[in-house]
């Protein structure tokens, strides 16, 4: 725990000690649990577990009570490389993995942790695995190598012939051009952040039966559980949790053979019981006080899949902080009061500050909204309580595709050539670091689309976006500002950062 606490600035530490709510929170944590969960260590996952981070305290709730993890397939190294699911989905990191944690593990273990397995914890298995530089993408940006088959041959149970070609323009790590690697060898390597394994009730929820971005009814869950939400993975390649865990076990854990139905049921049971969100703010105190309803309990207790625009507004959890009664305000420091008001303003900015969304596939085409369309963050981050997309959330914000993506010398760059209709906004030929959803569908129009992220527990799992382009919460706001020329004031930017720090 000391290593994690040492990352917290002194001023924030002081603020942490001030509020009564934070003191009460601390009192419930007799002995802070160690932040890193190693595979197979056999601790019990408690019904409630808190971890401090730079912004405050993250809380996870396990509905139904504590879980002994001894022998549990999420926590045991069931594959051949010594990893467990928990290796890359750490409770202290919002069930994802921050780049800071990866760097810490490298330093603590001198690179011996199974986290750095050559298969995907290094920039490429062909590189010298003992060198820190060979793992730079994981250590510096929290990126894992994802190898997808190419060309894709099947999508949603139907054969696919891609309508675009992929040429490797630049391959700094070798995994798209060395023998056995790259499109010429039948695969493509891209680099992505691990997505949080929590709050799945929301990610699996089906709000509407039709996908407005694809113009078709949602596909049926292959295991017969109604329709698939389409919100599970960055490229939506898994229609349900079973397929996601089988994909992860084979690729990230290097499991020989397959998960058993019993193992899948156990992982599913754990993941569906878990809710995670920031519980306390270092600057604002308890997030479920003074009428606010931040924290994971609200997530646990709410119905998933509701559209905020016709029901509970997104981030109205902090509406009560818009007007804090004098008697409540008197209990707060001036800094706490200012922070809470900022969070409430941030929620308003998130919902109400409109801007012109332009040239973004999945939004401006083909749904018929027009290009441009005036809207706000909640146009896409529209699910009450959670902020993911009620519809399947594959949109192209430009985070992985030129000219909008930032230049990255250490990522492979691909030239995309559309063979039939040109891409609606990029044209016939363009460049991308990650074709995203198109690696699943084989459609040129889907290049660059990435499934929207969950917005809960953000403070615990920097950096952000699928390729980690935003180093911190301010980086997210800055990206949107330069991508869409929004015109946020400095105050609005800080309000949004403060909001995101308490989700």
């Amino acid at each position: 725990m000391t290593d994690r606490l040492s990352r917290i600035p002194r001023s924030i530490m002081a603020a942490l000690l001030l509020p009564a709510a934070a003191l009460a929170l601390a009192a419930t944590q007799k002995a802070p649990p160690p932040p890193w969960w190693s595979p197979g260590e056999g601790r019990t996952f408690p019904a409630q577990i808190d971890y401090r981070n730079d912004s405050g305290t993250l809380r996870s709730l396990l509905v139904g009570g504590p879980l002994p993890t001894k022998g549990h397939p999420f926590f045991e190294p069931i594959g051949s490389n010594g990893r467990a699911c928990v290796t890359c989905h750490q409770p202290a990191d919002g069930m994802s993995l921050s780049a800071a944690t990866a760097a810490e593990r490298w330093d603590v273990t001198k690179g011996k942790d199974p986290l750095f397995a050559a298969i995907d914890g290094s920039n490429c298995p062909i590189l010298p695995q003992g060198d820190r530089a060979s793992h730079s993408l994981l250590i510096e940006r929290g990126l894992f190598r994802i190898q997808r088959p190419w060309p894709v041959k099947e999508w949603q149970g139907k054969p696919v012939t891609p309508d675009f070609t992929i040429d490797v323009v630049r391959d700094p790590n070798g995994c798209n051009s060395a023998p056995g690697y790259g499109p010429a060898a039948g695969n493509i390597s891209i680099y992505r952040r691990p997505r949080p394994v929590s709050n799945f009730k929301y990610l699996l929820a089906v709000g509407f039966a039709y996908d407005p971005k694809q113009g078709i009814a949602l596909p049926r869950d292959p295991d017969g559980h109604g329709q698939s939400s389409g919100n599970l993975m960055a490229d939506n390649r898994a229609a349900n949790l079973r397929l996601q865990m089988e994909d992860a076990a084979a690729s990230h854990l290097q499991l020989i053979g397959k998960l058993t139905p019993k193992q899948e049921a156990a992982i599913n049971d754990f993941e569906m019981r878990l809710y995670t969100a920031q519980q306390a703010s270092a600057l604002g105190g308890a997030l479920d006080s003074a009428g606010a309803s931040g924290g994971p309990a609200k997530l646990r207790d709410s119905e998933p899949g509701a559209l905020g625009s016709i029901g509970t507004p997104v981030w109205s959890e902090y509406a009560a902080w818009e007007k804090i009664p004098p008697e409540e305000a008197a209990k707060l420091t001036s800094e706490q009061l200012a922070f809470r008001k900022s969070v409430a303003r941030g929620a308003r900015v998130f919902r109400d500050k409109t801007f012109l969304i332009t040239d973004s596939s999945g939004i401006n085409s083909p749904a018929g909204f027009g290009n441009p369309v005036r809207n706000s963050c909640v146009f896409c981050h529209n699910m009450s309580q959670m902020g993911n997309d009620v519809a399947p959330g594959q949109v192209d914000l430009g985070t992985t595709t030129l000219p909008f993506a930032d230049p990255w010398a250490d990522l492979p760059l691909f030239r995309i050539t559309c063979l039939k209709a040109p891409h609606p906004f990029y044209g016939r030929t363009f460049f991308t670091y990650d074709p995203g959803f198109a690696l699943s569908t084989g459609r040129c129009a889907d290049v660059g689309k990435i499934t929207l992220q969950s917005l809960r527990g953000l403070a615990a799992r920097a950096p952000y976006f699928s390729n980690g382009l935003a180093k911190n919460l301010r980086g997210i706001v800055d990206y949107y500002e330069r991508r869409y020329n929004i015109g946020y004031t400095e105050q609005e930017k800080q309000d949004l950062v403060n909001l995101m720090s308490v989700l």
Binding site: V206, G215, A217, P366, G368, V373, N375, P424
Partner: protein
């Protein structure tokens, strides 16, 4: 790529007369976006019929323009005041995105407020709302949904609503078989000097996508898929009196 402006200029003498309220208009134009701001989805879409030198407000189309591309505008002059966007209002109206490139252009609001977004009357209920099951007796019936020019995309808050109505009825009626027929307006026409025709294959694409949607919602239903080219206009209520829209359709016919 053909020069759209050249083609538009050629067409100018063909339709150079002022329209009156209720008149059917059909022209190809490069759209102009007016950055009016009355909140979400409130901006204005304008399109000039260069044959008569009149600017129209086409914002009420269920599928809206892309400022990078030409649009096929179809609809009727409404007679409504021009106060929202500063142009003659077309309603009902459709604005189909065409492949031809246009110079993107945005006007400032210039005092025009645009229109505050109102949920369209054709919008799908959330899945959490239980649909009222239609009551029998059930007999042969045909449902129709409509498409943008040369596209097979089921239009959000228009055709998805019509599809949902059909699926809800089919789920209750349990017909012996459903025949899904896609149509394409594949006969070439000249509009604003521009020869346009839907691809013949879009008829099949429409039918297959609608079939797939119905199959996903009602997997046990027996569905036959057909396609027809050379579609003619039909008097269909949800085409809103726009002949071109009625041609670009899929029919879902339930047989008992």
């Amino acid at each position: 790529m053909k020069k759209l402006s050249f083609l538009l200029a050629l067409a100018a003498p063909l339709s150079a007369q002022a329209a009156e309220t209720g008149d059917l208009l059909r022209f190809v134009a490069c759209p102009v976006y007016r950055d009016a701001d009355s909140g979400k989805k409130s901006g204005c879409w304008l399109a000039d019929d260069v044959a008569v030198g009149i600017r129209y407000d086409v914002s009420l189309s269920p599928y809206k323009p892309d400022w990078n591309r030409a649009v096929l505008v179809e609809g009727r002059l409404s007679g409504a005041a021009e106060t929202a966007c500063g142009a003659k209002v077309m309603d009902p109206v459709r604005a189909s995105v065409l492949p031809e490139a246009c110079q993107r252009h945005m006007l400032p609001a210039e005092g025009y407020p645009g229109r505050k977004f109102v949920l369209p009357k054709r919008n799908v209920d959330p899945a959490s709302i239980v649909r009222k099951a239609p009551e029998g007796p059930f007999a042969e019936r045909t449902f129709v949904l409509f498409f943008e020019f040369d596209r097979s995309f089921v239009v959000y808050q228009y055709s998805d609503y019509l599809l949902d109505k059909a699926v809800t009825w089919l789920a209750a009626a349990k017909p012996k078989k459903v025949v899904v027929t896609g149509f394409a307006a594949s006969d070439p026409e000249t509009v604003s000097g521009h020869s346009i025709a839907e691809r013949a294959e879009v008829a099949r694409e429409r039918a297959e996508l609608v079939t797939e949607s119905i199959h996903r919602m009602l997997p046990d239903l027996v569905i036959e898929t057909r396609s027809e080219t050379g579609a003619k206009p039909a008097d269909l209520p949800d085409a809103d009196g726009i002949p071109g829209q009625s041609q670009r359709r899929v029919e879902i016919r339930a047989l008992f």
